[in-house]
């Protein structure tokens, strides 16, 4: 597709949505897309049917970035889901023939252009397919510095992988962009929602209360582990959940800080710029937790003293984020 411009992004879903909006003529940055959609979040899941070991999330549910951007900017995406891989491929190919860049949800593991040591099974990776030549698709994956090719069979495996949050062949494309967009209103609404989700949800495992629950419960993680190897793997996963898999760094705190910096100029509230700097520092603290977890996991140094220290570091983040979101909710009133 001649007029499609590939760009790297901090996070796959916000990067994909941004790429489709930019292609449709809307000049909007990835941090604005992330922030307007209220992407920042926290949730701690001690043990559920879906997770065999405690885990946490630092962003809203996959798919919410696209949904919320639709609601807040008034743009419209057309979406499709398939049971039958053949029908799924026919629809995708038809869109490409019509020169429509198409967002695709895949299991990251089947993306052969990624080095094998980096590939893991994640069913909620998003990318843009921009063309097809013979049996190969032209892929714009915001995870990658340049456009890549992927054979049809690998893309099909990725689109129809099974398991938790399986993609079910899900694809989407931009359908309509309104003539006028009220960015100020969208930013204010996005920030208010983020503050509400972080400060006021009643569930004890979500928002700031969720960070505190994580801090309290992490010392119990050894009781869930089969052995030291298992525990060290799970502790090292804290680093992966905070820093890797397209988190934008420090559990999405840096990308949200960049959003606030850009939003400050649009809504003409310089205090958002100051809050952006505060959130960057909060992100540094999460990055310290990444490093600490990675170190103790790698060295199998997982005694109660270390987990207690990790717990204290997480409590500190809860304090800092509570202060930050309270100040943010006042600033955006």
């Amino acid at each position: 597709m001649e007029n499609y411009h590939h760009k790297m992004a901090a996070h796959c879903e916000s990067g994909t949505v941004t790429a489709l909006l930019n292609h449709g003529g809307l000049e909007i940055t990835e941090p604005l897309v992330f922030g307007i959609s209220g992407g920042i979040f926290f949730g701690y899941f001690h043990k559920t049917k879906a997770f065999s070991f405690p885990t946490f999330i630092m962003r809203n549910k996959p798919g919410q970035i696209r949904n919320n951007i639709e609601n807040r900017l008034g743009v419209k995406f057309r979406t499709y889901e398939f049971r039958d891989p053949v029908k799924g491929q026919i629809q995708l190919d038809d869109l490409l023939i019509r020169k429509i860049p198409t967002g695709v949800q895949v299991d990251f593991f089947y993306m052969d252009y990624v080095p094998s040591w980096e590939r893991v099974h994640i069913n909620v990776h998003y990318l843009v397919v921009v063309g097809k030549d013979g049996n190969h698709y032209a892929i714009s994956d915001s995870y990658f510095p340049a456009m890549v090719e992927l054979d049809a069979s690998s893309l099909e495996k990725g689109r129809f992988a099974g398991g938790n949050m399986s993609p079910k062949g899900f694809i989407f494309h931009l359908d309509r962009v309104p003539a006028d967009i009220d960015y100020q209103a969208a930013i204010v609404k996005g920030i208010k929602k983020a503050c509400f989700y972080m400060l006021r949800l009643p569930m004890p495992f979500l928002g700031i209360r969720g960070i505190r629950l994580f801090a309290k419960k992490v010392v119990e993680w050894p009781s869930f582990a089969r052995d030291t190897e298992h525990l060290s793997h799970e502790i090292m996963k804290i680093n992966i959940l905070l820093e890797d898999q397209g988190t934008g760094g420090a559990g999405f705190r840096y990308i949200y800080a960049t959003f606030l910096q850009q939003a400050a100029a649009i809504v003409q509230k310089p205090e958002l710029k100051e809050l952006s700097e505060e959130l960057m520092k909060i992100g540094d603290g999460w990055r310290e937790i990444s490093l600490f977890s990675a170190r103790i996991g790698k060295n199998r140094d997982l005694g109660p003293d270390k987990l207690k220290l990790l717990s204290e570091m997480i409590y500190d983040r809860a304090e800092a984020e509570e202060r930050f979101f309270k100040n943010l909710s006042v600033a955006i009133k």
Binding site: M8, W117, N239, G249, A257, M280, L291, A294, G297
Partner: protein
């Protein structure tokens, strides 16, 4: 775009060696362009080392790498780290 000096590249190799406590590598044998990850460089690093290096770069040069896709590109090799620092240091 500024090109990094050889002095900066040597500084970076020493920073990596010091940060990771590596004792069995002669800094002079480290290639500037061969990827640091994947096992082909004298300094064969893993993903845990990557986060250590990112934080050491931030502490030493005041350059925060906030974007994880960018981080992967930056820590790819000594040359890529040096180019990033030369163009972003405070």
């Amino acid at each position: 775009m500024k090109n990094p000096t050889d002095e900066l590249k040597i500084e970076i190799i020493n920073l990596i060696i010091e940060t990771l406590g590596i004792t069995d590598v002669d800094p002079a044998t480290v290639d500037y362009e061969i990827p640091l990850f994947g096992g082909n460089n004298t300094l064969s690093l893993d993903s845990v080392d990557a986060i250590e290096i990112i934080m050491a770069i931030q502490r030493t040069y005041g350059t925060r790498i906030t974007d994880q896709s960018l981080a992967r590109e930056v820590v790819r090799s000594v040359n890529s780290i040096a180019t990033f620092i030369a163009n972003n240091r405070e």
